[in-house]
Point group: C2
Chain length 255, copies 2
Amino acid sequence: MADIVIIGSGNLATHLSKGMKLAGHKIRQVYSRDRQHALSLAMAVDAEAITSLDEVTLNAELYLISVSDNAIGQVIAGLPRDLQGIVAHTSGSTPLDVFRGQPWAYGVFYPLQTFSKTKSVDFKQIPMAIEGQNESVTEQIKAWAITLSDRVFICDSKQRLALHVAAVFACNFSNHLYAVAEKLLIQNDLSYDLIKPLIWETAQKAMIFSPSEVQTGPAVRNDHQTMQKHLLFLKENSDLAALYETISQLITKRT
Amino acid sequence: MADIVIIGSGNLATHLSKGMKLAGHKIRQVYSRDRQHALSLAMAVDAEAITSLDEVTLNAELYLISVSDNAIGQVIAGLPRDLQGIVAHTSGSTPLDVFRGQPWAYGVFYPLQTFSKTKSVDFKQIPMAIEGQNESVTEQIKAWAITLSDRVFICDSKQRLALHVAAVFACNFSNHLYAVAEKLLIQNDLSYDLIKPLIWETAQKAMIFSPSEVQTGPAVRNDHQTMQKHLLFLKENSDLAALYETISQLITKRT
């Protein structure tokens, strides 16, 4: 079990620190520039709240940088030079070499999941992509990661970026399509609830089958008549009509 | 309980006839131009197989036209003029007035779900959009529909088209995004399985929250640095890069 410092107080920092605490680790400190955020998360995980990187304790075992990607560089530059433990970021799209030239041992600890403040998650099922600057660091990070998740795997920075991009398509973009459906239903005096079973069934199919092999709908059938009806229906929503055409073409081309 | 003739033998016709039989109705006949298809479904639901519309029995109570949208007109033209029962199609994007001028009572019986041959579905949870040429026909169709589903509702043809378009976005297009993720993972020697918990969580969130209110990812955060990294990663896949930009812009604009 590790002594951990959490740098950050957003959704991921919150879920990670609660998850690590539940897994038996000790959260020593929580850092946020915003005192209120630091205090609130620190209280929840029984840690000290700090608002300056100078206050970071030197003798923790793991420093988890869980801030927005744009702020990782700043945090790295601001951390004390003489930290004893391993410093790891939790970002999908930031390569390991963001740490290059730093005096500490370093790595990556990336949970492939979407986190929101209002919904708890079961880390056991969350794939955890880890990377270390060398084998012994990788092994140490792995040992901590498996206390949290049953699905820990080692991957390099390019693969992690692929995962992150794939996640944007499968998660963020799918959610936007749900939101488009919601908007169309509400515009037509229909309840968003009506579409839920379909969303559910589609996701469930993706658990069992290869999505590329179970594609349905007018585009994969090359049913131009139906697509024309849909485009006509969307004529007042030119953005959505364009999106409809773009995705339909990709489906037809099987891209 | 009704005596039913099923016109068609595709996925929807198959699931509907099995569902109606399970609900206690009698499937009298199954029509398909393809003898083998007609026989195979007819056998499964204990019905007579027919391959010509001239053979359709005149005294059933419900004639369900469950063929591809493009073929509905032909089927209507080919059905005997002197049918006794109600003729209904099962299409989301075909208006009720496709029946205008026909001698029979007519309506629509549209289950909002995606069907595949290999996966059974629970009709009880499937929203069923119905429409009839007048109130008494609507009431009769509704009475049959509620034997199948707990979520029957009446809507007009324009609303049904909205449902169908919404379903294409939320279901067909989401599935395509899953397929994009699958492709990116495989291209990078990663298992498609890795993304499944994320797909699942995203769909689960859509059951509880309004999708437009729980959008996550770089686009909604206006995180240009991450989006640029992703676009660079996609530079060999120009179609996917274009799709990435299109959807990200819509999310940023909150369209």
